[in-house]
Symmetry: C2
Subunit: 253 residues, 2 copies
């Protein structure tokens, strides 16, 4: 599914209006939102769309609601980002007011190692596309990306200028859509290559995030290893009661 132009839905319009009011601090943290009845009036809508808009904002961590009381605006420093934006290092670097750049080390069509083949559901030595990039924020290296794509996705990457273009944006444009991204987070210490690429010392701590991207039909398209310089980056996560919690712990004892 390419990104289709969707007709503006009523509930999205209501959500967008409230989101904007929160963003501009017209509705500040702690303020009460208009009641549902009031929003129905203002948008000439029935309660359904209004409630769907509120549910959307709730799931974004922007507001909190409860039976009998008005919904209130939360501290939006914990608002969650969209699916697209977390795929993109460019997006979060820019959102911090820094200048993103990339240094591509490798873009190659090559046989898959046993581990990568297994993660991608392929036979060993099947051909994949591997990409290795260093990502920089204000010219400071913050992240090494080592990505491996099945050919369905990877063939669209081979011709790309990976220093200036976004891989996932391009994949989305050509109709390769990820539906589901799972990550495993751990910590490691930098080896010599990590240290060289990130300009840190061997033995410095790295946040290691392995990523598996799947299609709607659960076919794995991407298996990647991201390593963040721990002193320069951290990851954040916010959970609210009532929303299911997206973090879990895996033990290897």
């Amino acid at each position: 599914m390419t990104t289709t132009v969707r007709p503006p839905q009523q509930y999205e319009a209501i959500a967008a209006h409230l989101r904007e009011a929160i963003r501009t601090k017209e509705l500040a943290a702690g303020d009460m939102l208009p009641s549902e009845a009031e929003l129905c009036d203002r948008f000439k809508s029935s309660r359904g769309p209004v409630r769907q808009a509120m549910a959307t904002l709730r799931s974004e961590g922007l507001i909190s609601s409860g039976r009998g009381r008005r919904s209130i605006v939360l501290d939006s420093s914990y608002a969650t980002e969209t699916f697209e934006s977390i795929l993109s290092a460019t997006a979060w670097i820019e959102s911090h007011g820094m200048k993103p750049s990339s240094g591509t080390q490798l873009v190659a069509r090559q046989p898959a190692s046993a581990e990568i083949a297994s993660e991608l559901g392929l036979n060993e030595n099947a051909t994949i596309v591997a990409v290795e990039r260093v990502r920089l924020a204000d010219d400071v290296p913050v992240l090494v990306e080592r990505m491996n794509f099945r050919m369905e996705a990877g063939r669209h990457v081979l011709g790309l200028d990976t220093d200036t273009e976004s891989i996932h944006a391009h994949l989305s444009e050509v109709g390769v859509d990820f539906n589901n991204i799972s990550r495993t987070i751990s910590a490691i210490v930098a080896d010599e290559e990590d240290a060289r690429l990130l300009k840190i010392n061997v033995g410095d701590p790295l946040i290691q995030v392995t990523i598996k991207g799947r299609t709607q039909a659960s076919v794995p398209l991407e298996f990647s290893d991201f390593r963040y310089a721990a002193g320069r980056v951290s990851l954040g996560l916010n959970n609210m009661r009532g929303n299911p919690s997206p973090l879990w712990v895996e033990a290897h004892v």
Copy 2:
């Protein structure tokens, strides 16, 4: 709010039924769910509750839906846990079939350091309750917890046997409820104390998770530092398109 007994809602009954069918593999990954119309019949319900049940399962990562096609069951190894269960190391250790235990190093009423006071919204040297515990899985240390509570919560912790009782379960029982937990994830290397407590080597990688727990009114009650032995534990995270993404990246360049 103590855990109130809630009347069984219709949509919850429907969701529970489907959840159970998925858990027992009566509906396996890839299978199509019954259509909404069919579920309406089966539960003598209108579409509202059926759709709410589906939305719940979607947000739990159990199913995927889309216009024009039947909803399908996803690989539930990425199903998300409840708000309560991720508060509890005991819960995830048990869920992996291991025996949880704890070694409490410290439970004390003491003045807050500058950092902790600031995070808890207190003046420096205000009194807080500090707890330090090692958590073990099958007698292997996996995690050091260093927790700091405002007195509103902490006074309920002072009398607790922290080696055998769950702090958050107890707090919930006495009416101290967290509404919102935010985490920051990073990587560090073990110092001498970490190494001694976790029985690893100085310089080994640790996953560091700092946790801030807040009430519904956004008052910070807890500020804690958890350190996981990276070789023994990893964290997982799953995101689906359409659901807002709960992970973000913070830069400190």
